[in-house]
C-alpha cells in the first residue's frame, strides 16, 4: 500500500505521468477493494487537490462496501473536502468513479439525516464534472434532491437557470426536470416550473414511467395556477405512449381542471374535497389549495377589465367571497404581489383599479428588450447550426436516401440511393 501512496504522490504532479498513474491504479483496483474502509487513514497522507486521481481511487474503494453509521460519518467529511477541491483534469480521467463516489456521498448524507451538508459539495462536484454549462450530468438530479430535502431552494435555482442541451442519460433528464419543477414550485416560479414539467411530459419515451405520471399531475395543477386554464391535448411531439395513457391515469386531476374552467369556486372545492385523499397521497394538496386561491385572484383580475372603481362588497359578491373584509385582504395581497394595480379607499370601502404604470420607456426596459433580442439571436444561431449538423449526419442521409423515390423527373438528385458507411 505504501508503494501505491508513494507512486501517487510522485506521479501526480506531472500531467504527462498521469496515464501511467492511471494504469497503476487500475491494476491496484482489486487489492484496494479488498482493503475497503481500512484505507481511510491513507487519505490523510494525500492532498485532494494535487493527488486527485489517486485520492479518488482510494475513496472509491473505501466506500465500495456498505458502511455503518459511524464509518459513514467518518467518510463524509473527507469526501466533501475532496469534492470541493479536487482537480478537474485528473477527475475527468475516471468520471464514472467520481460519479459513483458522489452518489454514495449523497446516500451517506441522507443516512445521517443532514442533507444540507451535501448541498455545497455536490454543487462543486457538478461544476467539476460538467464538460460545459449545457451538459447534464447524473449528479444534477442528486443535487436537486439534496436541495429539496434541505429546503435550500435558492441553491437549486442557480443550477436550474442554466439551459441544458446535452444529456447523457434520459432518465437523468426526467428526474432533473421533475425535481427542478418541484423546486420552482417551492420558490413560486411557476412559469419555469411549467417549462420543466412540460419537458418531462413531452420527452421521448417508449414506456410510461412513474416520473412522467407524477410530473403530469403537478403539470396540471401548476398550469391551472399559472395560466388559469388547462388543455388536455398534449402537443404533437409527445410520445404516443404518453398521449394514450397519461390522461387515464390522472383522471381525478383532469376532473379538477375541468371544474376550474367553469369559474365557480364552489364546484372546484367540491371536487377537491372528493379526491382529497388522493391528492394528499401524492403530496399535491398544497398545490390544490394554491389553485383555489388562484381562482379568486383570476376572478378579481377579470373585474379590473370592466370596472374603474368597485366597492369591496361588490367584489366580495361577484367573486363569491364571504365578506368585504375578506375581499379587502385578497385585494391587498394581490397589490403587494404586484398582480394588480389598485388603491383601496377604506373610508368609502371602494377600490380604484389603475392601469399598469409600465410605460416601456425606461432604460431598464430597453436593456431588458435588448438582452432578450441578443439571447434569441444566439438561440436562433444554435438552431441553424444544429440543423446543418443533422443535414450532414450520415445516418439521417441514409434514412432519407432510402425513402426517396426511384425516379424523379423534375430534378435528378445526386444523392445516391444507398449510402454505405
Amino acid at each position: 500500500m505504501e508503494v501505491l501512496v508513494v507512486n501517487i504522490q510522485g506521479l501526480s504532479t506531472n500531467p504527462g505521468d498521469l496515464p501511467n498513474l492511471h494504469n497503476i491504479l487500475k491494476q491496484a483496483h482489486d487489492s484496494l477493494h479488498a482493503e475497503s474502509i481500512r484505507l481511510l487513514p491513507l487519505l490523510d497522507m494525500l492532498d485532494p487537490s494535487l493527488h486527485s486521481l489517486g485520492y479518488l481511487y482510494i475513496l472509491e474503494a473505501c466506500t465500495s462496501s456498505a458502511l455503518s453509521k459511524e464509518q459513514a460519518s467518518a467518510v463524509v467529511l473527507p469526501t466533501a473536502r475532496f469534492m470541493n477541491s479536487c482537480s478537474k483534469e485528473q477527475i475527468q480521467l475516471a468520471p464514472e468513479k467520481f460519479i459513483s463516489v458522489c452518489k454514495r456521498f449523497k446516500d451517506y448524507v441522507m443516512q445521517l439525516e443532514a442533507p444540507m451538508r451535501g448541498v455545497a459539495p455536490m454543487l462543486a462536484a457538478i461544476r467539476k464534472i460538467q464538460s460545459s454549462s449545457e451538459h447534464l450530468t447524473p449528479l444534477h438530479p442528486e443535487f436537486l434532491v439534496l436541495c429539496l430535502l434541505s429546503k435550500c431552494y435558492k441553491a437549486g435555482l442557480s443550477i436550474l437557470d442554466e439551459d441544458i442541451f446535452e444529456v447523457d442519460q434520459p432518465k437523468d433528464l426526467l428526474l432533473y426536470c421533475y425535481y427542478g419543477g418541484m423546486i420552482c414550485i417551492g420558490e413560486k416560479r411557476f412559469r419555469k416550473a411549467l417549462e420543466l414539467l412540460h419537458n418531462v411530459v413531452t420527452a421521448p419515451m417508449s414506456v410510461i414511467t412513474a416520473i412522467a405520471v407524477e410530473a403530469y399531475k403537478k403539470y396540471i395543477l401548476v398550469s391551472l395556477i399559472h395560466n388559469g386554464q388547462f388543455s388536455t391535448s398534449l402537443p404533437k411531439y409527445t410520445s404516443s405512449v404518453a398521449q394514450r395513457n397519461l390522461k387515464n391515469i390522472c383522471q381525478p386531476y383532469i376532473e379538477l381542471a375541468n371544474s376550474y374552467t367553469t369559474g365557480k369556486i364552489a364546484d372546484f372545492e367540491t371536487v377537491a374535497q372528493k379526491y382529497q385523499e388522493k391528492f394528499d397521497n401524492d403530496n399535491n394538496l398544497g398545490l390544490v389549495k394554491q389553485a383555489i386561491s388562484s381562482m379568486y385572484k383570476r376572478n378579481i383580475q377579470r373585474l379590473t377589465q370592466t370596472y374603474l372603481t368597485l366597492s369591496l362588497q361588490d367584489i366580495a359578491n361577484s367573486v363569491q367571497l364571504n365578506s368585504a373584509k375578506e375581499a379587502e385582504m385578497h385585494v391587498l395581497q394581490m397589490i403587494q404581489d404586484g398582480e394588480i394595480f389598485a388603491t383601496i379607499n377604506q373610508k368609502d370601502g371602494m377600490v380604484s383599479f389603475l392601469e399598469d404604470p409600465e410605460q416601456y420607456k425606461s432604460c431598464g426596459m430597453i436593456e431588458r428588450i435588448d438582452s432578450s433580442i441578443q439571447r434569441i439571436m444566439a438561440l436562433s444561431r444554435k438552431l441553424t447550426t444544429m440543423n446543418e449538423n443533422i443535414s450532414c449526419d450520415p445516418m439521417y442521409l441514409a434514412k432519407v436516401g432510402r425513402e426517396r423515390q426511384r425516379f424523379d423527373f423534375d430534378d435528378y438528385d445526386p444523392v445516391p440511393q444507398r449510402f454505405n458507411i
Binding site: 444529456v167 417549462e195 420527452a203 377589465q305 370596472y307 416601456y360 428588450i369 438561440l379
Partner: protein, 458 residues
C-alpha cells in the same frame, strides 16, 4: 325621411336629457298593446298547407298561454280548411284536439276519412299504373310528369317525405331549365313544410344556377325561401338581406309559404338585430316602399296584423334616431303576437336580446363618459340591472369602456396600442425561447436514442 330629420333637429335639446322618453304625445300612431291576434285575418293571408300548419301552431301556442278562445278559433278554421283537402291524418289530429268543444259539426267524421282514403288508394293505383306505362315507353316528359303527379298526390295527403322523394326523382327527366326550376320550387315547398332548411338552401342555389333568365316572381320566391333558410340557420344578417331584396313583385304569389307582411316583419327584425347604421337606413326605405305597394294592391285587408308593417318601420326608425326606450317598448308590445308566428317563434328571444344589446352598444358608442342614471332612464331600467348588462357586454368585448361603480359613470377606454405591442413582443420572445430550448433538448435526446440503437445493431 326628411320630415323626420327636421323634427329630430328641433327635439335635440330634449333628447339629450331624456333620450326617448315622453314623446308619445308628440306622435299619433296606433299603439299595438298586446291586442289579441285576429285569427281570421291572419289566416286569410295564406293559402295551401301553410295556412293549416300556421293555424295549428297558433292553436298550440294559445293552448300554452291558456287562451282558449283563440285556440278554439284557430282549431275551427283549421278543421274547415282540412276538410276541403285530402289529408286524413291531419283531420284526425284536429278533431282530436277540438275534443268536442266546438259542438256537433266539428266532431270526428270517420265516414269522411274512409271515403277520402278509399279515393286516395284508387288514385294512387291509377297513378302508379300510368307511371309504369310511361316508364316502359321511356318517354322522358311523361315520366317526369308522372313522378310530379305522384309528388303532388303525396303532398296533398300529407306524406311529405314521399312527396319530396318523388319530386327529386323528376330531376333525371328534366329537359328544359323550366322543368328544373319547377322541380326546385316543389322541393323547396316540401322542405319548408318539413322544416328541413338545408335542403331549401341547396335547392334555391340550384334554381338560381339555371342558364335562362328567371321570371321575376320566381326570383322573388327564391329569395324568400333563401331568407327563411337563413333565418332558421340563425344567420340573421343574411336572412335580412335576402328578405329585403325580395321586392314588391312577390305580392300574394307565394302565400302558400309566406305573406308579404311576413317578409317585412322578418326582414325588419333581423335587420334591427344585425345591420349597422348605414344598412339600417336603407332598410327603412325599402320597408316604406313595401308598405306603399301593399297598400295599393291590397287595401281591403287592413286588419291588425297588417298594421304591423308600419309598426316595424317605426320601430326601426326609432332605433335609428336613438329613441331606444320607445323602440324597445314597442318591440315588447309586439312580442305576444310575434310569438304566434311559426317561423319566428324559436328565434324571437335571440333577436330581441341582440336588438337590446345593439341598443346599449350604440347608446354608449359616441360618448367619452356616460352617466349611468341617465342611461337607465333612457332604457327604462334600473341602474343595478343596467350595470350587470354593461358588464356582460364589456367582458364580451362589444363595448370598449370601464365602469366607475362608485360614481355610476361609464368611461370609454381605448387600449394603449403601444404598450400592448411591447407586452406582446416580450411575451412572444419568451415563448420562442422556451419552445426552441425544449426542441433542441428533444433533438439531442432523439439523437442519443438513435445512436444507442445504431450501436446496438452494429
Amino acid at each position: 325621411m326628411d320630415a323626420d330629420d327636421e323634427t329630430t333637429a328641433a327635439m335635440i335639446d330634449d333628447e339629450i336629457y331624456a333620450n326617448g322618453g315622453g314623446e308619445d304625445e308628440k306622435r299619433n300612431r296606433p299603439i299595438i298593446s298586446g291586442e289579441p291576434l285576429d285569427v281570421e285575418a291572419y289566416a286569410s293571408l295564406y293559402g295551401g298547407r301553410t295556412k293549416i300548419s300556421r293555424l295549428l301552431f297558433v292553436a298550440e301556442q294559445s293552448r300554452g298561454c291558456r287562451n282558449e278562445a283563440m285556440e278554439l278559433e284557430a282549431l275551427r278554421m283549421a278543421y274547415d280548411e282540412v276538410k276541403k283537402g285530402e289529408n286524413t291524418q291531419w283531420f284526425r289530429d284536429v278533431a282530436q284536439k277540438i275534443d268536442g268543444r266546438l259542438g256537433p259539426e266539428y266532431q270526428m267524421d270517420l265516414a269522411w276519412c274512409e271515403s277520402v282514403d278509399r279515393r286516395a288508394e284508387q288514385k294512387r293505383e291509377k297513378l302508379e299504373n300510368e307511371l309504369n306505362a310511361y316508364r316502359t315507353n321511356l318517354i322522358k316528359e311523361s315520366i317526369r310528369m308522372g313522378y310530379n303527379d305522384f309528388g303532388d298526390f303525396h303532398y296533398s295527403h300529407g306524406q311529405l317525405g314521399d312527396a319530396f322523394k318523388n319530386y327529386v326523382r323528376t330531376r333525371d327527366y328534366c329537359t328544359t331549365s323550366k322543368h328544373i326550376v319547377h322541380m326546385c320550387m316543389s322541393s323547396i315547398l316540401v322542405s319548408i313544410e318539413m322544416g328541413q332548411f338545408t335542403h331549401v338552401a341547396s335547392y334555391v342555389s340550384k334554381a338560381e344556377q339555371t342558364q335562362e333568365a328567371l321570371d321575376p316572381i320566381i326570383v322573388a320566391k327564391l329569395r324568400c325561401a333563401a331568407g327563411l333558410a337563413n333565418l332558421e340557420a340563425k344567420k340573421y344578417k343574411l336572412a335580412a338581406r335576402k328578405f329585403l331584396d325580395t321586392g314588391h313583385e312577390l305580392g300574394n304569389n307565394y302565400n302558400e309559404v309566406i305573406a308579404p307582411q311576413d317578409i317585412a316583419t322578418y326582414g325588419g327584425l333581423c335587420a334591427l338585430a344585425s345591420f349597422d347604421r348605414a344598412e339600417l337606413k336603407a332598410c327603412i326605405l325599402i320597408l316604406l316602399s313595401f308598405v306603399f305597394w301593399n297598400k295599393v294592391i291590397d287595401n281591403l285587408n287592413f286588419r291588425n296584423f297588417l298594421e304591423l308593417v308600419p309598426e316595424i318601420r317605426e320601430v326601426i326608425n326609432d332605433f335609428y334616431s336613438s329613441r331606444y326606450a320607445s323602440c324597445l317598448d314597442y318591440l315588447g308590445n309586439l312580442k305576444a303576437n310575434l310569438l304566434l308566428d311559426i317561423h319566428l317563434h324559436d328565434h324571437l328571444e335571440t333577436l330581441y336580446d341582440q336588438i337590446r344589446n345593439k341598443a346599449l352598444i350604440q347608446y354608449t358608442h359616441p360618448f367619452v363618459s356616460v352617466d349611468l342614471n341617465m342611461m337607465a332612464n333612457a332604457f327604462k331600467t334600473d341602474v343595478a340591472g343596467l350595470e350587470k348588462e354593461l358588464e356582460a357586454l364589456i367582458t364580451d368585448n362589444q363595448v370598449q369602456a370601464r365602469i366607475d361603480s362608485h360614481n355610476k359613470i361609464l368611461y370609454a377606454r381605448h387600449a394603449d396600442q403601444r404598450n400592448a405591442t411591447f407586452q406582446r413582443a416580450l411575451q412572444t420572445g419568451n415563448e420562442f425561447d422556451r419552445d426552441v430550448k425544449s426542441m433542441l433538448l428533444r433533438v439531442n435526446l432523439f439523437k442519443r436514442e438513435s445512436n444507442q440503437k445504431q450501436s446496438k445493431k452494429s
